[in-house]
């Protein structure tokens, strides 16, 4: 996670031309003026469109408001109602199951492919594989979900056609709870494993080759080499990749919205989908904010927990 920042401040001070004090002072003054001019668009924009909304969101969670009538203060009622609402509960549960399965699948796949790509092979082939795995990342999740919905169609979908070649009867992918959940996970992982793959490629490249040579001299071969050298030395990358993957997966929306609209029933409804629905379909802006606050707290807790755990399990060189 450490980004090396060149130590410039110090050298700049040391090398500051020892001109007359007055000139230096006026230089500093005009620097400060320019700095605030340069920062103004970003700071004003972020204040208006990020910081104020964060505060407003927290405040709104304690009010009942449908935009039309005046907001009324309701204390913790929104939180109490939201926590007891069966749809919200199911959606959070779905999201947690989704995160666990999708992230494990995504990281496992990405790691296996990265290890295979980084070992000796013709470089044009390596370039091809890297581009192929990266490719889905540049597509829009909405477009991907549109064509995936056709591919997973029960009667004329390509997936079931291939399965029928192997003698497997048509799977009702998008009309059963289990099938829909599987499709959402598969489509999500299909599009996102390339990002974890890139991170693992970077991590593998930073493992010194001498470590592998030493392991070979000690008689380690094949998978033992990866078990005892690659995995421990890669753990900082694995931590980072899993933090990013979990945070992103907790916010899943586009795929289930386009693929299943949360159905059948509530089987693929996610946390962000209930925020969207309570705010913009049921006009319960206070409840939507309360769900948003809960989701943010979960994201922060997961991030904190992972860095705590990392102190115990991650091996830093």
């Amino acid at each position: 996670m450490s980004t090396t920042i060149p130590r410039r401040e110090r050298s700049k001070q040391a090398a500051r031309p020892a001109g007359p004090a007055k000139a230096a002072a006026s230089g500093r003054h005009s620097q400060r003026w320019l700095a605030w001019m340069f920062l103004a668009p970003t700071i004003v924009g972020m204040g208006l469109f990020t910081l104020v909304p964060i505060v407003a969101s927290v405040v709104l969670a304690f009010f009942r408001w449908d935009i039309i009538s005046a907001p009324t203060f309701v204390g913790f009622d929104n939180f109490a109602e939201v926590v007891q609402d069966p749809t919200v509960r199911v959606s959070f549960l779905n999201t947690i199951v989704f995160v666990v399965v999708a992230v494990a699948f995504q990281l496992g796949l990405a790691l296996a492919l990265a290890v295979m790509v980084q070992e000796k092979m013709p470089s044009w082939l390596r370039t091809f594989f890297r581009s192929a795995f990266f490719f889905p990342l540049i597509l829009s999740a909405a477009s991907v979900s549109i064509f995936m919905r056709y591919l997973f169609n029960e009667q004329f979908g390509v997936v079931n056609w291939f399965l029928s070649l192997a003698g497997i009867p048509a799977v009702p992918w998008l009309t059963t709870p289990g099938g829909s959940a599987a499709v959402v996970i598969l489509v999500y992982v299909w599009q996102n494993f390339g990002f974890s793959f890139l991170l693992f490629i970077g991590g593998l490249a930073s493992i010194p080759t001498e470590t592998y040579e030493a392991a070979s001299l000690d008689g380690a071969t094949g998978w033992r080499k990866h078990l005892y050298v690659t995995l421990p030395l890669l753990s900082p990358t694995t931590l980072l990749a899993s933090v990013i993957a979990i945070i992103n997966a907790l916010q899943v929306f586009d795929q289930p919205y386009v693929l299943t609209r949360g159905g059948p029933g509530d089987s693929t409804r996610t946390a962000v989908m209930v925020i969207f629905e309570s705010a913009f379909q049921r006009l319960e802006f206070g409840q939507a904010s309360a769900i948003g606050v809960i989701l943010t707290l979960i994201i922060m807790a997961v991030t904190a927990a992972q860095f705590r755990l990392s102190k115990r399990f991650v091996f830093y060189q």
Binding site: G45, S57, A132, W161, A205
Partner: protein, 294 residues
């Protein structure tokens, strides 16, 4: 920041087997087979989308599926223009994405330069706040942003999509790193020559910052061209829809008989992303993994 991948690959390989009794390298064969399978599963759906969009609409759902456009037929591409006001969608998407990208490049370059090269009080604390905003998911701020946009009288306009997306914490972070990577002597030399801080930026640093700004622009373009959640909430009438929204509603409106028409729209919407992929893949990869210490 760039991923250096050649180190592992240049690891001295075991002595090559003597010519004549060359044994097949099973490890390599198995690896290439598995990787090829993964590549087929990754690219296959996209190939199917492309070749099905080039079938006639009545043929498009017929099995066996088509993965190679052997007899391309462009009926669906004509029909998608009839079914969908695709010019408006493309224009909206291009306008929104282009203005966000340019806006991010300019504001991020200025803010990044201020954090990297200019001395002012409170810079460190301010930069921490900017970084912290990266952790807040957009879904949490969307309700107040929606209200704010309404209050500003901008609801259901393209500006509702553009304005909130211009201030960029990640872009600012990237540009700050970029300016810190440029040699400090340049500023000192300019100062000795009596250049004002503005002149130093304008004639020395801004021209050098173009590659960094390009990364910010490419990332912004890729993200906002594909964006679905914010347009879904912040636009109401169809004349303000962007491409992904228009395509999803087209899929909803058409029956299964017109798969190829919907897919023609999907393929058209991928073209700009393909251009970026072809010419800016390196920049995109570096930008996406920047700030992760790799």
């Amino acid at each position: 920041m760039s991923t250096t991948t050649e180190r592992v690959s240049t690891r001295p390989a075991p002595a090559p087997p003597a010519r004549g009794r060359r044994k097949p390298n099973w490890n390599l064969v198995v690896r290439i087979a598995l990787l090829s399978l993964a590549a087929v599963l990754t690219l296959g759906p996209v190939m199917w989308t492309l070749s099905t969009s080039l079938r006639t609409p009545s043929e498009s759902f017929r099995l066996p599926p088509s993965f190679f456009p052997l007899n391309p037929d462009f009926t669906s591409y004509v029909q998608v223009f009839e079914q969908l006001d695709i010019f408006i969608l493309v224009l909206n998407s291009a306008l929104v994405t282009g203005l966000i990208a340019v806006g991010q490049m300019v504001t991020a370059a200025m803010a990044g330069y201020a954090f990297a090269n200019l001395k002012f009080r409170g810079g460190g604390a301010l930069f921490s706040i900017v970084l912290a905003t990266m952790m807040v998911p957009v879904q949490v701020t969307i309700v107040p942003v929606f209200m704010l946009i309404r209050g500003m009288g901008l609801s259901d306009t393209l500006l509702a999509l553009i304005l909130p997306a211009i201030p960029t914490a990640f872009g600012t972070f990237l540009m700050r790193q970029y300016f810190l990577g440029l040699p400090a002597d340049l500023a000192e030399a300019a100062a000795i020559d009596g250049a004002s801080p503005w002149r130093t930026f304008r004639s020395v640093y801004a021209p050098l910052a173009v590659p960094g700004m390009a990364i910010v622009g490419i990332l912004a373009f890729n993200f906002h061209w594909n964006e679905f959640f914010r347009p879904l909430i912040l636009t109401i009438s169809e004349r303000n829809f962007t491409l992904p929204l228009g395509l999803v509603s087209l899929q909803g409106n058409l029956g299964t008989g017109s798969i190829s028409v919907v897919l023609a729209g999907v393929v058209l919407s991928m073209i700009p992303a393909l251009v970026v992929f072809t010419f800016g893949q390196r920049a995109l990869q570096d930008g996406l993994t920047a700030g992760t210490g790799k």
